[in-house]
Every structure is written in structure tokens, then in C-alpha cells.
């Protein structure tokens, strides 16, 4: 896999330092720090509910951190003025887990919307550009359909097309290939690789699809219960000697054991029941 190494003078595309997030007083992210280098694909891994999506929502400014900071291309996003934030966001594309397409607009209108609003091009040109983006994700035949008329997988692809609308330098994907058939998932993985290799786009993907991770990731950040368990190149993370990381990459299910207060009450095959034997 080709990896683009950023020069030391160029700041990371995304730098998160000591991010703390809370929902109703419950810590969701606990001093999370990570980087996404320019032109690389960084994958944020972890079990469901470990805080991956929350991290992504902080990066893109949908949530305000309790503590810590998020820098995009060296600029502190949450400390920036409204105009600066808008400028930063124009260079960021994001696709949500469920697509989050505008239900009242057709796919081409969905993709054309940011083009119309943020550029000087006329409506016809914007529609043409939108169709090109839809073509990139293989949805040119569905351009005139409404989101309610297409499948979940197509919605995800349309969301990717919309994220690509303004040719951003940073793409954020939340669970890009989750729930898709293997062929479509593979196509999206290849699209992600093409975007990186041909356009030098920096990509941050939240996922727990091992197949995708192994195909596309340059770097990985493993989260567990709101904390970073490991971060580095995919190989470094994979080699980390932590039982949860090992279990994740070996696809080992969590040991189903008895609750502590029952262990001394059950004797299986002549032995007192212990942890891990479930």
C-alpha cells in the first residue's frame, strides 16, 4: 500500500489533543489524542459504543469538547471564528452512518447543494458536477431518485458522493462500509484508496470492518471505553500486546463467563467454575 509521508513542516490534517467529551455527566471520551497525517488514511477502530462517532463529531465541530482541542490543518477548530470555521469546513467532507441525505431532494440535488451554495457556478453546471460525483460512486442511474426510493447501501454511496462534492482535502467517513454487501463494500474501499492515491486526500474512517481496515488503513487508532488503547501504523497497532486489541484483530468473541458472585456456586466437571472457561 502506498503511503504518502507528510513533510515535517506540514501540520497534520487532523490533530486531536486531550479531548474530553461528556454526555449528561458521563465521560464518553477521556483525554483522547490522535493524529491523521496529510494524504493518509487513518482508521478509528473499536467496539460499538467506545466513542468513535463522538470523536468524529468533535473533529467536524458538531460537538464542543469539554476539554482539549481539535486542530484541522494546524488551526484550532473550536477556537476559530465563525468565518474561519466555515472556511475550514469547506475543505472537509463527511458522510454519516445513515447517509443523512436531505429527504426532500433527489440524489443529484443533494450532491449539487454544497456546490451551488459554496461556489459561483450556475445550477446546470452544479448538476453536471453532481452527476459526475454520483458516477464516481456508481449511482449515475439513480440521480433523479429521492433518498426514500433507494437502498441503504445506495444511500451510503450517495452520501460519499455528497462528501466529495467540493473536492475536499479531508474526508471523514462514519461506518462507511458497515452493512453493505461484500462487493459494494469492496468497491467503496477501492474508491477510498483511489481518492488517496490520485487526489492525495486525507481520510479518517470510523469502522470496525476488519476487511476494510486491512485493505485501506495506513494508520489506526484503537479506542476502548473512550480511551485510546493504541495508535500508530496499522502494523504497530496490530502488534500491540493488549488482550482487547488481540481479540479485535483475531475476531475472538468476548469470553462469556459467570458473574463473579456465582463462580463459587457452580462446580462444572468437578472443578470450581473460573473466569474465561465460558
Amino acid at each position: 500500500m502506498a503511503t504518502t509521508h507528510a513533510s515535517p513542516s506540514v501540520p497534520p490534517a487532523v490533530q486531536v489533543d486531550g479531548l474530553v467529551a461528556e454526555y449528561d455527566g458521563r465521560a464518553v471520551l477521556d483525554r483522547v489524542s490522535m493524529q491523521a497525517q496529510q494524504g493518509e488514511i487513518t482508521v478509528v477502530l473499536g467496539e460499538s459504543g467506545c466513542g468513535k462517532t463522538t470523536l468524529l463529531r468533535h473533529i467536524v465541530g458538531l460537538l464542543t469538547p469539554k476539554a482539549g482541542r481539535v486542530c484541522i490543518n494546524g488551526q484550532d477548530f473550536h477556537a476559530a471564528s465563525e468565518e474561519e470555521r466555515e472556511r475550514i469546513l469547506r475543505d472537509v467532507g463527511m458522510s454519516f452512518q445513515g447517509g443523512a441525505l436531505f429527504g426532500s431532494l433527489t440524489l443529484e440535488e443533494n450532491v449539487a447543494l454544497p456546490i451551488i451554495e459554496h461556489t459561483q457556478v450556475d445550477r446546470d453546471t452544479a448538476t453536471m458536477l453532481a452527476r459526475m460525483k454520483l458516477c464516481v460512486v456508481g449511482l449515475e442511474h439513480a440521480a433523479r431518485l429521492l433518498p426514500a426510493e433507494i437502498s441503504g447501501g445506495m444511500k451510503k454511496r450517495a452520501a460519499v458522493a455528497r462528501a466529495l462534492a467540493l473536492d475536499p482535502g479531508l474526508l471523514l467517513f462514519d461506518e462507511l462500509s458497515a452493512g453493505l454487501d461484500p462487493v459494494t463494500a469492496r468497491e467503496l474501499d477501492e474508491l477510498v484508496l483511489r481518492l488517496k492515491e490520485h487526489l492525495g486526500v486525507t481520510i479518517v474512517i470510523v469502522t470496525h470492518e476488519l476487511g476494510s481496515i486491512q485493505t485501506i488503513a495506513d494508520r489506526a487508532v484503537m479506542l476502548d471505553a473512550g480511551k485510546v488503547l493504541a495508535a500508530g501504523s496499522l502494523e504497530e497497532v496490530r502488534q500491540t500486546d493488549h488482550p482487547k486489541i488481540r481479540a479485535f484483530f483475531d475476531r475472538r468473541p468476548r469470553a462469556r463467563t459467570l458473574r463473579g458472585d456465582l463462580r463459587d456456586s457452580l462446580i462444572v466437571n468437578g472443578e470450581q467454575y473460573g473466569t474465561g472457561s465460558g
Binding site: V92, F96, F102, R162, L258, I267
Partner: protein
């Protein structure tokens, strides 16, 4: 198929074997002293379902309460699977739900909610004011195309229902007035009553109630659904402000549509009265119109228009606020939509009472 069904039914039952085991050993445990150990051999039990495992755990719980350690021995591999995930605490009765808040707690809770609501409303008004007054000077124009769409939805599409209901209200007013005024030979004053009632009071209020029910609910439901499906978040990530693209067009549309519909309501309400007066009560058409013309005052029309503008703002703010702060998925959208309509109507009637009082004293 029949076998599968039997297995399912069986899985929800406790076998006689387990019931007799539990019965027998409960008695034995009761006879033991604290600190003793009691073993129960499950070697003869090939497998257990969840309910049976829970029933057996009651023995462990029973023993612990008496200081007796209960152990199951000879548990077969298949049977022991039924215990996994179980916990003695699961056998405890669930904690009773928190009762009603005390008066003081309730006051505090409502105060905090009111403060938070007020703060968010002020933020929303500030955002709307920015996009209406400041942003156009910075090159970010009002989205007139979206405003036009909303005017059609709220105003044009609302014409039939407003026309129909206002006509009926005018007619009903005339009929009710007729029964009283005819006794004094003053039936012609029905025209005055209908004209003044419609322009000052009924038309703005009826229109506001129709718009709150028809369009306010639609605005809340639409925005709420967009919140739930992350469309609003998606807009923000595209550096598109929901205030500019969604809220302001709806507010402006309401400010255009509600006074327009109120004017229409005035006309059709008066026509309803005319229709009853002329065709049913036999008042002369010319007389009726003359009387209406004398009763209509510019001040009353202006009062009605001012009211309708205030009602439009109230309906818009409530609908947008309720839509933007939906929590809890589809149920939250439904709850907020209902709350939006109720709050809009209550606020409009309250505002109407305040206005009427003020105008009464000013007059």
C-alpha cells in the same frame, strides 16, 4: 414444526424434576446452621433453560440469606451455559421507579427547564436576526427561493381551509346575532357585528389557529425529522447554516402568509355574514353592504394585521424551536409536534387577550 413449537413452549417452563429438586433442597437448607455448605448434584440434569437456571439460583440466594453456601455439583457443560450472564442481583425485585418529585424539586426542575428554554430561544432569535439583518450586508443573502417555497406551502395551500372556515364563522356569527338583534328590530346591525368581530378578533385568531395546526405542526415535524436523521448535522458539516436555510425562510414565509390569510379571512368571514343576512334573514344586499362599509374602520383592520404579525412570529418561533430540539427519535418528533401546536395556540390566544386589553384602553 410441531416439535419446534413444543421445544419453545418447554423452554418457558420449569420441569417437574427441577421443581422437586428446589422444593426438596429448600427444606434442607433451612435446617442447616450458618456457615454450613450445601451441595446439590445436577448430574442428572442434562440441560437447563434460563427459567430453570434462575429457579435454581433462588436456592443460592436463599442459602446466602441464611449464611449457607449452596453449590451445584456435577453440572453438565450444556446445563451450565444457562447460568452464564445470570447474577444473583437479577433475582432481586427491581428498584421501584422514582416517585413524583416533591414540590420544591418540581419547582426547581421547571425553573431550570424554563431557563434553558429561554436561553436557547434567545440564541435562536439572535441567529435569525443575524441572517435577516447582518448577513445580507456580508454577501450572504436571504434564501428567497426557499422562502417562496414556504410561502406557497403555508399561504397558498392554506387558502381553501381558511376561506371555508372563515366563511362558516362569519355565517355562524350572523345567525347567532340575528336571534338577539331581531327582537329589537336591529337585525341590520348584524353587518356591523360581523365586520367588527371578524376584523378585530376572529379573522386573526382563526387564521393563527389554522396556521398553527396546519403549518406549525408541519414545520416542527419536518425539522424534527431532519434532526433525527442527522440532516441538520450534515448541513452543518457542509458549512450551511440551518438558521439561514431552514429557519429564516419559514419565519419570513409565516410573516407574509399569516397577514395575507388573515385579510382573506376578513373578506370571506364578512361574506359569510352577508350570505346569511341577505339570503336567510332577508336583509337588503345594498343595505347590508352599506352598513358593513360604515362599520369597517381602518383602525380595526390595522389592529387585526398587527395581531396577525405577532401570531406569525409566535407560531414560527415555537414551531422552529420545537423542531430543532427534538430528542428521542420518532416518538420525540410526535411529542414535539403536539407540543408545538398546543403551545402556539395557547400563546396566540394569550397574546390576543393582551392586545385586546391594550387596544381597549388605548381606544
Amino acid at each position: 414444526m410441531e416439535q419446534d413449537r413444543a421445544a419453545i413452549v418447554h423452554a418457558l417452563r420449569v420441569s417437574e424434576q427441577i421443581l422437586s429438586l428446589v422444593h426438596e433442597h429448600t427444606g434442607r437448607i433451612e435446617q442447616l446452621r450458618p456457615g454450613a455448605r450445601h451441595c446439590l448434584d445436577l448430574g442428572q440434569v442434562p440441560r437447563l433453560n434460563g427459567l430453570e437456571a434462575a429457579t435454581l439460583l433462588r436456592l443460592v440466594q436463599h442459602g446466602r440469606r441464611r449464611g449457607v453456601t449452596v453449590q451445584f455439583t456435577g453440572v453438565r457443560q450444556q446445563a451450565h451455559q444457562a447460568f452464564i450472564g445470570l447474577d444473583l442481583s437479577l433475582l432481586d425485585p427491581p428498584e421501584p421507579a422514582r416517585g413524583r418529585l416533591s414540590l420544591l424539586e418540581s419547582i426547581g426542575d421547571h425553573t431550570l427547564t424554563a431557563v434553558a428554554t429561554g436561553r436557547r430561544l434567545i440564541e435562536m432569535i439572535g441567529e435569525l436576526a443575524y441572517w435577516l439583518c447582518l448577513a445580507p450586508w456580508r454577501g450572504k443573502n436571504i434564501k428567497w427561493d426557499r422562502t417562496h417555497e414556504q410561502i406557497v406551502k403555508i399561504g397558498v395551500d392554506g387558502i381553501p381551509i381558511v376561506t371555508f372556515l372563515s366563511f362558516l364563522i362569519g355565517a355562524v356569527l350572523a345567525l347567532n346575532a340575528a336571534s338577539q338583534l331581531r327582537q329589537f328590530g336591529a337585525a341590520i346591525y348584524i353587518a356591523n357585528l360581523v365586520a367588527v368581530s371578524m376584523t378585530r378578533e376572529m379573522a386573526p385568531l382563526i387564521t393563527a389557529i389554522i396556521v398553527a395546526g396546519r403549518s406549525g405542526s408541519a414545520i416542527t415535524a419536518e425539522l424534527g425529522t431532519m434532526v433525527v436523521s442527522e440532516e441538520i448535522d450534515a448541513m452543518r458539516t457542509m458549512a450551511l447554516s440551518p438558521g439561514r436555510f431552514l429557519l429564516l425562510p419559514r419565519m419570513l414565509a409565516l410573516l407574509c402568509a399569516v397577514p395575507g390569510l388573515t385579510m382573506l379571512s376578513n373578506v370571506t368571514g364578512i361574506f359569510g355574514g352577508y350570505w346569511i343576512g341577505v339570503l336567510v334573514l332577508g336583509l337588503g344586499s345594498r343595505n347590508y353592504l352599506q352598513q358593513t362599509g360604515q362599520a369597517l374602520l381602518m383602525g380595526d383592520l390595522v389592529t387585526g394585521m398587527i395581531k396577525s404579525l405577532v401570531f406569525a412570529v409566535l407560531i414560527g418561533l415555537v414551531a422552529c424551536y420545537r423542531g430543532c430540539y427534538v430528542h428521542g427519535g420518532a416518538e420525540g418528533v410526535g411529542t414535539n409536534t403536539t407540543a408545538s401546536v398546543v403551545a402556539s395556540i395557547v400563546l396566540c390566544i394569550l397574546a390576543d387577550a393582551v392586545f385586546t386589553t391594550i387596544f381597549f384602553y388605548l381606544a
